[in-house]
Symmetry: C2
Subunit: 437 residues, 2 copies
């Protein structure tokens, strides 16, 4: 008989799950109180693990936000001695909001088994060959895929940041059966197959895709599935907590099971910050239940979704979350990299010849996603001198490449250009990327 | 009492070590005979594990070369079932010689403990904070550092491919105590500290550097050590076999201990392919003694060194290898990336406007290593049209960036330019990088 679940916890009764959650909630609060940040928060609000008698008691604790993590960077939320953590993760850019995320050895093992469990739920098995197409480095995604894939016993190809042509060449050579990629890379994948006159379902062994990082809605997902003739499984995670490994679509593909033995889930009104009735759309708030190095209590993810309460046909008792409809933060994804507008802004500030205003355009040219930045020059004389102009655009684009590893196209516009235009585009990211169809 | 060695095998008697080697040599040949490649080689030469009664009997086996790996890419040297391997590594470029390197779960554990042993030999301990500055992805180095660092229990910062400014910012923020970087990045490190008006030994917690990848000679190493006032430990490894983790300098810093329980070492004359007397300089040939997924027999590394037979003052009984004086292959390193001239060549071939000849220059401008490629245009009229020229250089540089992730400077020269010059520079890599002094 085929084993249906990676871990027997996946179909434990909701009652058992709730008992485990309560136990681990208390444990988590206890552990968190060892960190500088939570010790001070708990003291200020007169809170401790002792006040938790039911899951509802958690609501007496304040939310933790991204800016709490940034302003206590790097070690303020660390709940164990520095010597006990073996891995640091963060956002990659020098000017991105600073985040220090720490893992103990046990956290890494737990992460590996969560990702293995997630992958297994999509139908991956140890004979699969998994090509990891996300960039390695400070961000967690690729490392998590590698850990989890190996735990599951698949052959992992840590392809990382290579061109789409090379990705396709590799998947053909090695016979990759599963690809893990950011949803934002799907369009380039489709286009490159088209350019090569190849059909992935015929010309490769790929039989499923797992997408993470940027949100993708159901309609867009189905459109790409129909084009590729390959199913796409959505996964969910955030840098701050084991991404990937938090939630994933099972073979039923009707929402993402969020692993409730590891994550306590709340949905709140993102304006009023009050709990929302079950099933309503709101901001996802997570309390980690099993992190040692850096437990988080009521962490505001910035992601909007809803809980699906109905039991899933797969038999897993862990509830599902619906499509992530938008992120409340500014992070955007291009060419498989996660970028913050602040990285662009602060890089531009170091170039005296340009003004304060800019617009970031995400565009598709020749099937490739392109980052274009419109920047005002301080001195309009620049615009008449081709040599100077050329030199300045090169200077800016190489500084931004240095910071983001994405080579942008720079468009210089005259001083006060933006004041003539609609203010609402200023310092914003305008996503004009072609939806693949 | 302080534990002096990570593993008790490090100071076992030479007799014990040789017995273990003989046992593992037979085992390795036995395992290798399960691969398509070795099965056919052994059949052709009537060889088997049974003929090995002493280490000298290994000389009856033919050498394995890089081209054997390439021409049997990807699975030809795999000695276990595909389902048993969990990790694939390779060179990153689409046009680099193809190499498929495979690891079982046990190979990864063994690799982790070899790197931990290596790091420990340099004086690293679990309280250290290790910043990994090599690029992650298909190549092994960063993954090996991560595995080994975690095994040793240090805090690993998987920094990867970020700018040197960001590296320095990170090491300050986190208090990194050890940096792992390619020797080729040392000059940029020194320059960037200088530019920032910082002294690493005063303004950071860094207390040692470990360098790998490209060779560095003793004099250059000492010069940089004196500038930084921080000791540098050399390590040695090759993509094909657990790099890093093969050999490292202990705290005595008089040559790199090569772990003889995992690697059987020969030094041969690279022209005549005959064994050289002990202590003479020649090509390093390695037989793996403990690899499961892809054992290699008499593998020609292409690296020139010599064995140091004298016992080391550290008490380790594993012999040392001397400075790697040159690599016989063409691989070069720039901006922390490993590149093959073939990647450049084959990318240029896809641009109809340029000729067959080119020269690759590695230069230092403004303290940064720069890749410059001189290319002939087919039609000299190009050189008179600034717009066309601009467009063509952009096209070439973006294609090369796409392939190598290094943004080159392209210099177009007239048709037949190279025939007027010394032929010996053609299709070669000219390294004009400033040695830091």
């Amino acid at each position: 008989m085929e084993v249906q679940y990676w871990d027997s916890i996946e179909n434990v009764s909701r009652n058992e799950l709730k008992k485990l959650q309560l136990f681990r909630l208390k444990e988590t609060v206890q552990r968190a109180s060892a960190s500088l940040f939570y010790r001070s928060v708990f003291k200020q609000h007169k809170l401790s693990a002792d006040i938790i008698h039911s899951a509802e008691d958690l609501q007496r604790f304040p939310f933790t936000t991204r800016s709490d993590i940034s302003s206590h960077y790097p070690f303020g939320l660390l709940s164990v001695d520095r010597c006990e953590v073996v891995r640091f993760h963060s956002s990659a850019g020098a000017y991105a909001p600073k985040k220090g995320i720490f893992y103990t050895k046990d956290d890494l093992s737990a992460w590996a088994s969560l990702v293995a469990r997630s992958f297994y739920a999509t139908g991956m098995v140890s004979t699969d060959i998994l090509q990891v197409m996300t960039d390695f480095g400070l961000h967690t995604t690729s490392h998590g895929c590698e850990l989890g894939g190996e735990e599951l016993g698949v052959l992992v190809i840590p392809a990382g940041n290579i061109s789409m042509h090379r990705h396709i060449q590799l998947m053909k050579e090695l016979g990759a059966t599963v690809l893990y990629l950011p949803a934002g890379m799907l369009a380039t994948l489709v286009d490159t197959f088209y350019e090569l006159n190849m059909s992935p379902s015929v010309d490769t062994e790929v039989r499923q895709l797992i997408v993470g990082e940027d949100p993708i809605d159901q309609k867009e997902k189905e459109r790409i599935e129909n084009m590729l003739k390959i199913p796409i499984y959505r996964s969910y995670g955030i840098l701050e907590i084991n991404s990937p490994g938090m939630a994933i679509e099972c073979e039923q593909q009707e929402g993402m099971h969020i692993w409730e033995d590891y994550y306590f889930v709340e949905i709140i009104d993102p304006e009023k910050l009050t709990p929302l009735p079950s099933g309503e759309w709101g901001e996802l708030v997570i309390t980690t239940l099993n992190q040692e190095g850096m437990p988080l209590i009521r962490y505001r993810t910035g992601d909007i979704t809803r809980i699906i309460e109905e039991p899933c046909r797969c038999g897993r008792t862990h509830r599902r979350i619906d499509t992530i409809t938008r992120r409340t933060d500014e992070l955007f994804f291009i060419q498989g990299k996660a970028l913050y507008p602040a990285q662009i802004a602060q890089t531009l500030q170091r170039v005296p010849e340009v003004g304060d205003n800019y617009v970031i355009y995400l565009e598709t040219t020749d099937g490739n996603d392109q980052l274009t930045i419109e920047v005002e020059v301080v001195d309009n004389l620049y615009l008449d001198n081709y040599g100077k102009l050329e030199c300045l655009t090169k200077n800016i684009s190489s500084r931004i490449f240095e910071e983001t590893k994405v080579l942008p196209k720079i468009k210089l516009v005259q001083n006060n250009h933006f004041s003539l235009h609609n203010e609402k585009y200023l310092k914003q990211v305008v996503d004009r990327r072609k939806k693949t169809e």
